[in-house]
Symmetry: C2
Subunit: 139 residues, 2 copies
Amino acid sequence: MRAVEARLRAEHRLSANDFETLLHLSRAEHGAMRRIDLAERLRLTPSGVTRLLDGLEEVGLTGRRDCPADARVTYSVITARGRKMLRLASCTHAAVCEELIGSHLSPTELEELSDLLGRLPGGDDFDAECCSAGTAATG
Amino acid sequence: MRAVEARLRAEHRLSANDFETLLHLSRAEHGAMRRIDLAERLRLTPSGVTRLLDGLEEVGLTGRRDCPADARVTYSVITARGRKMLRLASCTHAAVCEELIGSHLSPTELEELSDLLGRLPGGDDFDAECCSAGTAATG
DNA sequence: CGCTATTATTTGATGACTCAACTACCATAG
DNA sequence: CTATGGTAGTTGAGTCATCAAATAATAGCG
């Protein structure tokens, strides 16, 4: 994880959480998520998400949209610039994953590892896809 | 990791790094290590270690000793109280590891996991010993 | 010996997170 | 309608790490 963070930061000025935020938003319906759901996905507190999105909004990678049905909620929305950034950063991300994991394990072993980790509580995080030929949400 | 931290903190007022520090010191020759070697083991910067040890010294779990041969180095030394604390905390640690990992995998699978992780760069951290019946440095 | 580079450590500033407290809103039961 | 309780989000204070710079000592080369 450390190395992913470093490379993303160096090459795209993104933290690992910045990247994951863009990734989750890009996969969500209409590129939008409630901040609180984002918090859960990222394993952050709502407070942490507020500050994280402060940064992403400031550089125009995400925006906000009010919910017409519930005035409490604000949606975070990925922007066109955000999607573009995600496409670039995904290459870096995939490359580092491959370098860190994929290149050290055969496809079979990778799947084994994924299975074992998936069996652990909270182990649903490990995304084996992105560790070899996988392009995580490059679309 | 999150859960380990929480339980150690709740039951012994120790952070995960506090615990690991005591563990490494207890295993070292004379219960002493140079601060910089400790930094490497803990994957912290020297700066981080300074602040971490500030806390442990304040509550008397570690002490410091000058190196007679090199005035630049200070050894961090585990105290008797530190060893006692480590014995207690190790039980908690082992219990949480078992709960989190050991109880979800068979011994064979645990070893498989350990092997796979060990093959990864920096994967020498995972200590399969402590995840089932293992008592990590309870001596 | 004297200079330079390297090593061990500490300090100050900063960043990213947490928690606790607060605001604002929604839902429901009377 | 109104009080009660739960949910979404922000803010302020504190924690734990980092980096960059400063200090002090050592090592080795001329």
